[in-house]
Structures are given as C-alpha cells and as structure tokens.
C-alpha cells in the first residue's frame, strides 16, 4: 500500500512537470529557461497544488455525503 502511494505521487509529479512544461515553454531558441518561463512554471505548480487541495476537500465531502456550502 505504501508502495502504491509512492508510485502514485511519482506519477502525479511527472504529469505536473509535463503540464507546466507544455503550458509554459514554447520557444526552443535557447537551452535554458528564461525568467518568464520560470515564473510561469512556478505559478502553474502553485496553482495546481492549490487546485488539487480544493478538489481533495470537495471529493472527501461528497464521499462522506456531507452537505456542501455552495447552493445550487
């Protein structure tokens, strides 16, 4: 089970790298990241982690049948 969690978080890690690379890097005229690309990757990762945390909370609520705060 521990091994499974480890594997899963490594897969999440790899998919986050791919996503931020795809969304932030489009020029291949240099072989190092420029300031703008680096800043974009930072924001992408932070946003993704916050997003994932929020999804996790909602997901847990729905699985426990708890009422949600957002009215329809």
């Amino acid at each position: 089970i521990e091994g499974l969690q480890m594997k899963d978080s490594l897969r999440m890690y790899n998919s986050l790298v791919e996503r931020s690379f795809n969304d932030c890097v489009d020029s291949f005229r240099r072989k190092t990241l420029d300031k703008q690309e680096e800043s974009c990757v930072r924001k992408c990762v932070e946003k993704y982690m916050k997003h994932q945390m929020r999804v996790g909370m909602r997901f847990a609520e729905l699985n426990q049948g708890a009422p949600t705060s957002d009215s329809d």
Binding site: D23, K43, E46, K50, H51, V55, R58, D70
Partner: protein, 82 residues
C-alpha cells in the same frame, strides 16, 4: 464467506486484492477528476499563483458535476441498454 467463521488465507488474500483494486479505482477517479477540472476551470496564462474567486467556485461545481456523471455512468452500465 460463511458467517460465524474466520476467513481462510485464500479469502483474506481475495479481500485484500479487492480492497487494493477499489483503492486504485478511487485514486484514478481522483486523478482524472483533478486534471479535468483544472483544464475546465483554471486560466492557463498563470498570471498569479492564487486561485481567484471565479476559479474556486468553478472547481466546486466541477467536482460536484463530475461525481454526478460518475454516478450516472455507473447506473447506465448496470442496466444494459434495451
């Protein structure tokens, strides 16, 4: 499993296998849900590192709708069409 009896080794293994499959299913559901709602709700220009109000409420509704689709598909696959 017969009631009032302790599970045999084989039964224990089967139960453990089912629990693991169930967990893998939930992990995959969560991962797909997370990626899908990120695509649907989050601005890709990444100007800020905070989620703004619109993104937050979009996420809440996206999770809710995704789980409804998940339940609906579950119902549909149990009752074969026609």
């Amino acid at each position: 499993m017969a009631s009032g009896k302790l599970p045999t080794e084989a039964e224990k293994e089967q139960i453990f296998g089912m629990a693991q499959t169930e967990m893998e299913y939930r992990v995959e559901l969560f991962n797909r849900l997370t990626a899908t709602c990120f695509n649907k709700c989050i601005e890709k220009r990444y100007k800020e590192s905070e989620l703004h109000l619109g993104e937050n409420s979009c996420i809440d509704r996206c999770v809710s709708k995704y789980m409804q689709v998940n339940n609906l598909v579950g119902q549909l696959l149990q009752t074969p069409p026609m």
